[in-house]
């Protein structure tokens, strides 16, 4: 996620600044706070450090609620037979219904209902056996019917929980687990896209996206900062991807986040609610919530009008196949029991399984699961190497991931394959190379992925030196040239031995067997 969003930072910031909408004040008090422009600073607003108010003695506390729009992964749209595809030629995926031709009627896509039910189950929601569709009226050029079909009165799923974690603490390596309540999940239509050509004063409309199925997930304002919100969204993204109900690519708009941020002093009523719309990446989410722009309070915005959608009967979800009415074909019903049976392993279960089967730490499993493809990478290495999982996890989570992040690459783009790393670790396990050489070889593999670890070791003569006579000679030389240190060791300061060991390894370019070196040095300094 981090890698994929890196290139679009600037572009997004413009959008965010433009699309910020200030909502009506929720109470009499107007809280003003100075918040810097999004993306103009790289410092981060952390959970512990609440928004600082210039010349205000009392600290402000943030309250964050999210509305997430997840595009349902389906072949066709929510109410029509048009295909769902990103970046198709403009207006090439538009049915008569999508263009709101008069006389056309919505026909509910069963797949979208299943996806919403599955998502609801994964988030411990109550699935409403009967839900209703409503029209929400707006006059936007990219909303051809003049209304969006959504679920306002009775959504398909309510009262769920999303449990998420993030790394916190001073060294940012402590796993902090929290949860946010899911108020509801509602099925609704996506809108089209408007493109404004300012030069010619034209608005161009692309309806390919119009009518694509969305799940709107409304979260209660249970979070207090951008970091928590970003972690919650990331967890949600992982869950949706595991379920296959949403591809979750934020840069393709498949997952869009609106954040409602409000700040207040503890004990005071909540302040002005600011809505930040359409945040397209986790990093921007954390920043947007952290900074938000200076508040400009405008007058109340006219509420959209609602009415029941008369062309869609109530949506019924059945508990079991036997509870469905006999006159309805089985292909026309959604059965809870069947959807539940099809639930895949969710990220949380996956982390538990990783901790249990590989005896790794929870924070390790967190990193493994949160980086796209890292679990698979890790498991592939473990499968092919004699090195224990706890050793592998260090390589994968630190060495590999460090390099990937440094080069802004995703796991799938890694030049070092799991097989190459496994080979390398095997060489180390067999005692053919030392751990420091192994790290050196890894860097070589990264630079020249065409070669095997074996080749690099041979070419650069990096194999371990197990010639006792040679090591004896080098050790003697080090001992002779460092009388003070030897004196210190003999005086009882055993730690100094490590310094001498380092000097020996320097001489041998890290190839000497450290166990052997230690015993020789101990012997010579005793």
């Amino acid at each position: 996620m981090a890698a994929s969003s890196a290139g679009i930072g600037t572009l997004l910031c413009k959008n965010i600044n433009k699309q910020i909408e200030i909502f009506y004040p929720t109470n009499r008090r107007y809280t003003w706070c100075v918040i810097r422009r999004i993306c103009t600073s790289i410092s981060r607003f952390r959970c512990q450090g609440q928004i600082k108010r210039k010349s205000a003695p009392k600290e402000l506390v943030g309250v964050v609620g999210l509305e997430v729009h997840a595009q349902i992964q389906s072949i066709t749209k929510l109410f029509s037979g048009s295909q769902v595809r990103f970046q198709a030629p403009p207006n090439s995926l538009v049915s008569f219904f999508d263009a709101s031709l008069p006389g056309t009627l919505p026909v509910l896509n069963r797949r979208c209902v299943e996806a919403a039910v599955m998502t609801g189950l994964a988030l411990d929601c109550v699935i409403n056996r009967k839900s209703l569709f409503d029209r929400k009226h707006y006059f936007y050029a990219d909303l051809p019917a003049g209304y969006q079909i959504t679920q306002q009165r009775r959504p398909i799923a309510v009262d769920g929980t999303l449990t998420y974690s993030h790394l916190g603490g001073t060294r940012r390596n402590t796993l902090i687990t929290k949860s946010v309540r899911i108020k509801q999940i509602q099925l609704e239509q996506d809108s089209g896209k408007s493109l404004h050509d300012d030069r010619r004063g034209q608005t161009l409309i692309d309806l390919n996206r119009a009518g694509v199925g969305l799940m709107e997930l409304v979260m209660e304002p249970d979070m207090s900062c951008g970091e928590e919100a970003a972690a919650a969204v990331r967890e949600l993204q992982l869950i949706l991807q595991a379920l296959g109900t949403c591809q979750g690519h934020m840069d393709e708009g498949q997952l869009r986040v609106d954040a409602n941020v409000s700040v207040h002093r503890p004990g005071d009523p909540w302040g002005v609610r600011t809505e930040v719309k359409n945040i397209n990446s986790g990093r921007n989410l954390a920043r947007a919530i952290g900074y938000t722009t200076k508040l400009h309070c405008s007058g109340p915005v006219r509420q959209p009008e609602f009415m029941p959608e008369p062309n869609l009967p109530p949506l019924i979800v059945y508990d079991r196949p036997s509870t469905a009415p006999p006159c309805v074909h089985p292909s026309q019903v959604v059965v809870l029991e069947e959807v539940r049976a099809g639930l895949p392993e969710l990220p949380r279960a996956r982390r538990t399984r990783l901790v249990e089967s590989y005896d790794i730490l929870p924070e390790h499993s967190f990193t493994l699961v949160n980086e796209d493809g890292l679990t698979d990478y890790f498991e592939a290495v473990v499968k092919e190497t004699k090195a224990g999982p706890r050793k592998v996890i260090g390589w994968v989570n630190q060495v590999l991931l460090g390099l990937l992040h440094h080069h802004s690459l995703s796991v799938s783009q890694s030049p070092v394959t799991p097989q190459m790393l496994a080979q390398l670790l095997n060489l180390q396990e067999n005692g053919q190379i030392s751990s420091s050489v192994a790290k050196q070889v890894f860097q070589e593999l990264w630079r020249a992925p065409g070669k095997t670890a074996q080749q690099i070791i041979q070419e650069q003569d990096l194999g371990i030196v197990s010639n006792t006579t040679e090591i004896h000679r080098i050790c003697q030389k080090v001992v002779d040239s460092h009388p003070d240190q030897v004196q210190a060791i003999r005086g009882g300061n055993k730690k100094v031995l490590n310094k001498l060991m380092g000097l020996v390894q320097k001489e041998t370019k890290g190839r000497a067997d450290p166990v052997l070196v230690r015993s020789i040095l101990e012997e010579k300094t005793s």
Binding site: L101, G103, F139, Y147, E305, F306, L312, P313
Partner: protein, 530 residues
Amino acid sequence: FIQRLLRIEVSLALKEGRISPTELCRKCLNRIKKTHHLNAYITVSEELALKQAHEAESRLSKGVSKGPLDGIPFAVKDNFCTENIKTTCASNMLKDYTPPYNATVVQKLLDQGAVLMGKTNLDEFAMGSGSTDSAFGPVRNPWSYEAAYREKSGADPDADWVIAGGSSGGSAAAVASLTSFFSLGSDTGGSTRNPGALCGVVALKPTYGLVSRHGLIPLVNSMDVPGIITRSVHDAATVLGVLQGHDVKDSTTVTDHPTPLTGLPDDFDPRNIRVGIPKEYHGPGLSQETLAQWSRVADMFEQAGFQVEQVSLPHTQHSIVCYHVLCHAEVASNMARFDGLEYGHRSDVSSSTEAMYAATRHGGFNDVVRGRILSGNYFLLKQNYEHYFVKAQQVRRLINEDFRRVFGSGVDVLLTPTTLSDAMRHTDFVQEDNRTRSAQEDIFTQPANMAGLPAVSVPTALSSRGLPIGLQLIGPAFQDRSLLTVAQWIEQKVGFAPIRYHGDAGEGEIRVDVLPSTPTVWEKNYLIPC
């Protein structure tokens, strides 16, 4: 002679080769031209009609008829989408709109070989009860030109013509004037039955959910039903038999297999039928002559052994007000799509998108439509929603409950007037605005729409002015067949004479033997489900 023929008889004549479909189509096209002054049609699809007739002819000559409607001319209200044929809704907004698809009901009729003559006039977007508020001018009632009216009222038909009723006035006038053998109307609050009664034809509003609305440009989605206008009850049953059934494109159509309507029984035992006379329908404004017809038919029922009883539908008086609230709210919503972007009229104003919207909608809609959008949006405003929309829905449920209770007590069918009186002169009708007229004209018809029930208007007699009077039968949901069976009984007993065509010599050439009025081929062993 053709003017004496009911459609079934034409069908038989076609099959027996006594008249060819092309000949029949030409006769109807000629008649459309001769009755041009009625303004019943907005578009006449002459070329297509002749092509279809020709195809039917070649089928019939090979003995491979598609069914009872093969080669039969029909007309369609201009708010049903017809592929490659303009569909205007009698509005400037869609004046040049040609849909890319056929409404399901139109497609079903074409698939049966029926020959589409054209698209009929209506009140703009079906909002009205006189067919007087059309961008293409008002429809004239064919009975204005009949001897009965001219002689009895001494009127000059060119000045004193009477309205056709609405909003499906063009469809009713087309069938009454024999330019088509049946037609499609739409019925939201009585829009099929009202003109049916005023034009002296049979007009059926089927149960909501029995016939697909896909392709019907909506007025009120929760009440709209495609209506069927014919010259006989039997024909209405035949057409309904073709149209009814589940449509995957309309999720509100029922999935159960509907009762076949291949023939209506005529030998049921009247003693098994209970007819309810709702006392609330005896209200102010009901003309003496309509009341007399109502009593006459009730007496006929009684004399024939039907169990006739007075019933009460206590919430009827509140129905029309609630109907208007719900109607206007849905209108406001349904009309939102007409912004000139994707289709239809678009204003030249281009200073901003909003300005373009405003100018487009002002130029595209008449005052009636704009007025309903305005009030509908008012009803839907967040602060008003509970007071109007929600309350109206609650009353709608009570009205539904009234009917459910009466039918649940064993009543099979309700007999009521269709309209307050016979057709008004146009000059009188336009003295009041559209809203007032709709409230008067839909008073007896819209409760059936509120409750989604089947209802049919059957002509019973001519008034002292020489104009038709119709009575309405309302039945329980999905009992359309039983309803039509009773309607047919009335039809046979009252012996209403439809318009006879006053053609020139050329028109009289079609020689078809008039069949007995009671066909003998119908099923005999059918009992009405009670």
